[in-house]
Amino acid sequence: MKLATHYNRANIIITISVLLIGGIIYYFAINYIANKQIDRELREETEETNDFIAQHHKLPGEYELEDQQTFFNKISKDSLAESYFDTVYKDDGKKCHHGRAEASLVSFNGNNYKATIVISRVNTEDFIQLITLITLALTIGLLVTLFITNRFILNGLWRPFHTTLRDIKAFNVADAKNIEQNKGKVDEFNELNEAVQVMSARVKNDFQHLKQFTENASHEMMTPLAVITSKLDMLIQDETLKSDQLEQLTDIYTATGKLSRLNQSLLLLVKIENNLIKDEEALDLDQMIAEKIRHFHEIIDAKNIHLEKQLNPKKITASRYLTDILLNNLLNNAIRHNIGHGSLAVILTGNLLIFQNSGPSTPLDTTMIFERFRKGQGSEGTGLGLAIVKNICSMYGWKLTYDYNMRMHTFQVEF
């Protein structure tokens, strides 16, 4: 749940409870005050009655005013405590209202009467109703105002936070784009934004250094490798070397070759990640694939692999260099991990390029195959081939998938 929703919910619950409790207290207070007011009126009436009796020496007739009724009942008791109580007031139309009454003892000509004065509470109730209505209206008004405030003003206040959050989400260490400075009115968010900016700059810097290091290290290794290779090339010219010594030298050659390929692959990965290869052009993919297959056909033949190709014309826009490497690595894989007398299908149709080859009878681990230095058992490769393919594909937004079915391994690139 969003922070604003949490806040809103708490806000509304508290507001409603406070208003509700306040409303109840308010109601009782007003009621109490109103009763006091009526009681005061009643006492005045009683006193007026007593005055009337004292002056005129007779009971006032039972009379009715607009909202006041007086009754006298003869009683035998000598004393009667003055009392106030809620009662029912019947008006002319015999309609019943809430009323308030006072009962008191009136003595006249030696007789005791119970005087009861009833006052209608209609007016007071109307008054309380009005106040309730106003209170209710205020409550609703307050809630609506709070809701709107939270919704618009709070959303506005949170905007810098959301902008920063979006920037963080879109953050990519390999990107050249930095997180923008985003000054708002809220200090906390400004601080957050600054912290994120500093952090991203530092991360980027570290990443750049790391890449620089990889690149430099790889470059620096090339010259010693060149020295080793040239020394080997000279060494094998020696006619006195025995064949088992020469076999050892072949192994050194192979290891050196592998080291240099590894280096070149690492450099290539850095370049792809840095987006340094930008020589995009329109390419006839089908022709490039046909050429690649021609290039490797001796090796395919040597393994007695049955090749099936179906190449429909397809144009793509990409770097020739990278496309060449992509095809190279995929084809290389399909040949290297193939079995003797196996099969290999290269299909280019519509937006799909499919390399399907026979191979080991267990599927590859799809979560791992595109990771660096992941390679199959007994593979003599660098372990970077598929990582490079993956990087090239993601750079151009192509979708690379692997599938295993019926002993056939399928790599598919969707352009």
Partner: protein
């Protein structure tokens, strides 16, 4: 052919010099840009081997120097940087080829011979070795005047051997020359053997002398008997 080798790495420079010397070649070498420009100013060469990363500057300066003086040396750049930009830059300012370190000396020699021949042969660009005649532009091979048909790879291999006459060439170098260094050979050189067997058979069938010798355990050697 007279060759100037500009390379700061001593071990590499010495080996290149030794490998390229002989076969009618004269090699000189230097290790700095200043020495290179000094030599280029005073002498004429057929080919220049140029390392880009020199201690006192980038090798491109030597290339610029040659271009400004209208000198006709063929230039082969050897660089530790396998960078497309460097390659294009070098080729744009007048280099004839670009080779990335590490490389096999046989590959270097083959490239050097190829650029030299391309520059110095007229329209009649033929490579003749005893009874073998190769018409380079047409990629045709004749033995004793009779044409023989070679596959593309066999033809490339024959040229490679002829450029490295009298030298033992490792199977690794042959494989890399034919399939590029991106192709992983996974210790299996059987198909190279098959290829060489086919090439040798085609040459022998055309009653050519057997110049190809297998050096057990390491590779092959093409030699004039």
């Amino acid at each position: 052919m007279k060759i100037l080798i500009i390379e700061d790495e001593q071990g590499l420079r010495e080996n290149i010099t030794t490998y390229l010397s002989g076969d009618g070649n004269i090699c000189e070498s230097c290790s700095t840009l200043a020495a290179a420009i000094d030599k280029l100013a005073n002498y004429d060469y057929d080919c220049v081997l140029l390392d880009i990363g020199l201690p006192d500057g980038e090798g491109f300066a030597a290339l610029d120097y040659l271009k400004n003086r209208m000198k006709s040396e063929s230039v082969l750049i050897i660089s530790a940087r396998n960078s497309l930009d460097d390659k294009l830059k070098g080729l744009n300012i007048g280099a004839d080829d670009y080779l990335t370190k590490p490389f096999h000396l046989a590959e270097l020699k083959a490239r050097l011979v190829a650029i030299y021949r391309r520059k110095n042969a007229g329209s009649n660009n033929k490579l003749i070795f005893n009874e073998i005649t190769i018409d380079l532009p047409g990629r045709n091979v004749e033995v004793n005047g009779e044409p023989i048909t070679l596959t593309r790879k066999e033809y490339d291999m024959l040229l490679y051997f002829m450029a490295n006459k009298g030298r033992v060439i490792s199977k690794n170098a042959i494989a890399e020359h034919l399939w590029g260094d991106e192709m992983d050979m996974h210790d299996n050189f059987d198909f190279i053997y098959t290829h060489i067997k086919n090439l040798r058979k085609k040459l022998l069938d055309a009653s050519c002398n057997d110049y190809l010798r297998s050096v057990y355990g390491i590779g092959y050697k093409f030699m004039a008997q």
